[in-house]
């Protein structure tokens, strides 16, 4: 499973990066390919390219605020989750996602 994800919280200093780390760790543990873009206080970091969106199976938006460049994800299968959920439950989110996607196929 190839995943792209965007994290963004109101202040853009704490949760954004905690969620990014949690998703990356969970993906590494479960053997998924993930790229997590952070939209923090300084702007976009680790930006997801159009090609990466094209290649991805799923888009995860762990965002509490409006994000920039959202139009990249139009038409892709997308899940919206509260950012705290990404921080706390990254493992279980990815597992449930994989399950749901396999049912869709």
């Amino acid at each position: 499973m190839k995943i792209v994800a965007v994290c963004a919280c109101p202040t853009g200093v704490a949760h954004t990066y905690m969620a990014k780390k949690a998703l990356e760790n969970a993906a590494a543990k479960l053997g998924y390919n993930i790229k997590v873009e952070a939209q923090g206080a300084l702007g976009i970091e680790n930006e997801i390219t159009i090609q990466e969106v094209k290649d991805a199976d799923i888009v995860i938006l762990a965002i509490e605020v409006a994000i920039a460049k959202r139009d990249r994800f139009v038409g892709k299968p997308t899940v919206n989750i509260p950012i705290q959920m990404a921080v706390r439950n990254a493992d279980s989110i990815l597992m449930q996602l994989a399950e749901k996607l396999s049912k869709l196929d």
Partner: protein
């Protein structure tokens, strides 16, 4: 509701750097010019610059509330609506501050989304994003903010000032007046109600009874208690505040000490009823104590104004009691911050295309 919540947080997110820059600039320049007693032109200019930046807060807030709801097309009209909220245009209207900017941002968000969907002749389709949406949304938000919102706020303004003047006419209601003035400042944290309280003070400033200086003393708790209390409470009960709230605590306490209430806004937005409620109670008690002790001052700007009080010790005590009450109430009533949800919480989400 979640959309509005997200819009609010987006507005806060983009407004924060302005609050920090404006708050800290005004605070530090105030301290320098008061305690070093020298008039340095650069410091005066820097202070003026701080207030200019403060004036950017409502337009930026309005712009990004609208951006969250309507994307890029919302920014310009949202900015304009927020600017009118801070700078009333017509005779008889008053500034509605960030509350007005919030209304403007939400109105613009829905208006622009509606305009985007509005069917128009195909030949005009390319003109829609470049010409029609900016023009129509800009005009509509100008009319709404300048007229109905402006006059509504202006009307409330006059009514409240008149009410306060009636209270002020009877010495027996002085304590109540102190509590109300202070609570008004605590309620909207640098917004229109607080401005009404300040306007009232200037209206009675030269009153032979000395009421002006007493009313001025009474608003000190309302201005200082909220930011100091949320900052202190996040040290005492760290679990009840989010990590970013804890990180902002030192800044909130400093800005609160120098009389910039706006630092409370991010805390209030996340948990409005408890934060504003607790702050109002502590501030009202502080304001009532000011009147009860017959305290008066001609100073402004938080701790910088304390030496100007007729009894600096009791004056400080009244503020400290307000802070103690608000902080205690915050610690008692606030719930654990949501980031501490347990990992057993089930994950429920849908895939959308």
């Amino acid at each position: 509701m979640r959309k509005i919540q997200k819009a609010l947080m987006t507005g806060v997110s983009y407004m924060l750097p302005f609050i920090v820059l404006a708050g800290m600039t005004i605070a530090l320049t105030g301290i320098v010019s008061t305690y070093f007693g020298v008039k340095i032109d650069f410091i005066t200019k820097l202070n003026g610059f701080g207030w200019t930046v403060m004036g950017f807060i409502p337009p930026i807030f309005g712009a990004y509330v609208a951006y969250s709801l309507a994307d890029k097309a919302g920014i310009a009209p949202g900015f304009i609506g927020g600017w009118i909220a801070a700078n009333p245009i017509l005779e008889g209207t008053k500034a509605s501050g960030f509350l007005g900017a919030l209304i403007a941002g939400i109105l613009v968000g829905y208006l622009v989304n509606w305009l985007k969907k509005m069917p128009i002749p195909t030949v005009l389709e390319s003109l829609k994003p470049t010409l029609i949406i900016p023009l129509v949304s800009g005009w509509i938000i100008f009319v709404l903010m300048a007229y109905p919102v402006g006059f509504f706020v202006g009307g409330i303004y006059t009514a409240i000032i008149n009410f306060l003047l009636t209270l002020a006419a009877h010495p027996s209601s002085a304590i109540l007046l102190g509590a109300i003035l202070s609570a008004m400042c605590a309620f909207d944290m640098g917004g229109p109600l607080g401005k009404i309280a300040i306007t009232f003070i200037f209206a009675v400033w030269a009153d032979p009874s000395g009421l002006g200086f007493m009313a001025n003393a009474a608003v000190f708790p309302g201005i200082m208690v909220p930011a100091i209390s949320v900052g202190l409470a996040s040290y005492i009960a760290p679990k009840k505040f989010t990590e970013s709230e804890r990180k902002s605590a030192p800044g909130a306490i400093i800005t609160g000490l120098v009389g910039i209430t706006e630092a409370t806004l991010p805390y209030a937005f996340r948990d409005p009823i408890r934060v504003i409620g607790c702050n109002i109670i502590g501030s009202a008690v502080g304001g009532a104590l000011m009147m009860a002790f017959k305290l008066a001052t001609s100073g402004v700007s938080g701790v910088i104004g304390i030496p100007a009080a007729n009894n600096p010790l009791l004056f400080t005590l009244a503020i400290a009691i307000g802070v103690a009450i608000s902080t205690t109430l915050l610690v008692l009533t606030k719930k654990e911050a949501s980031e501490t949800i347990s990992s057993e919480d089930s994950v429920n989400f849908d895939i959308t295309f």
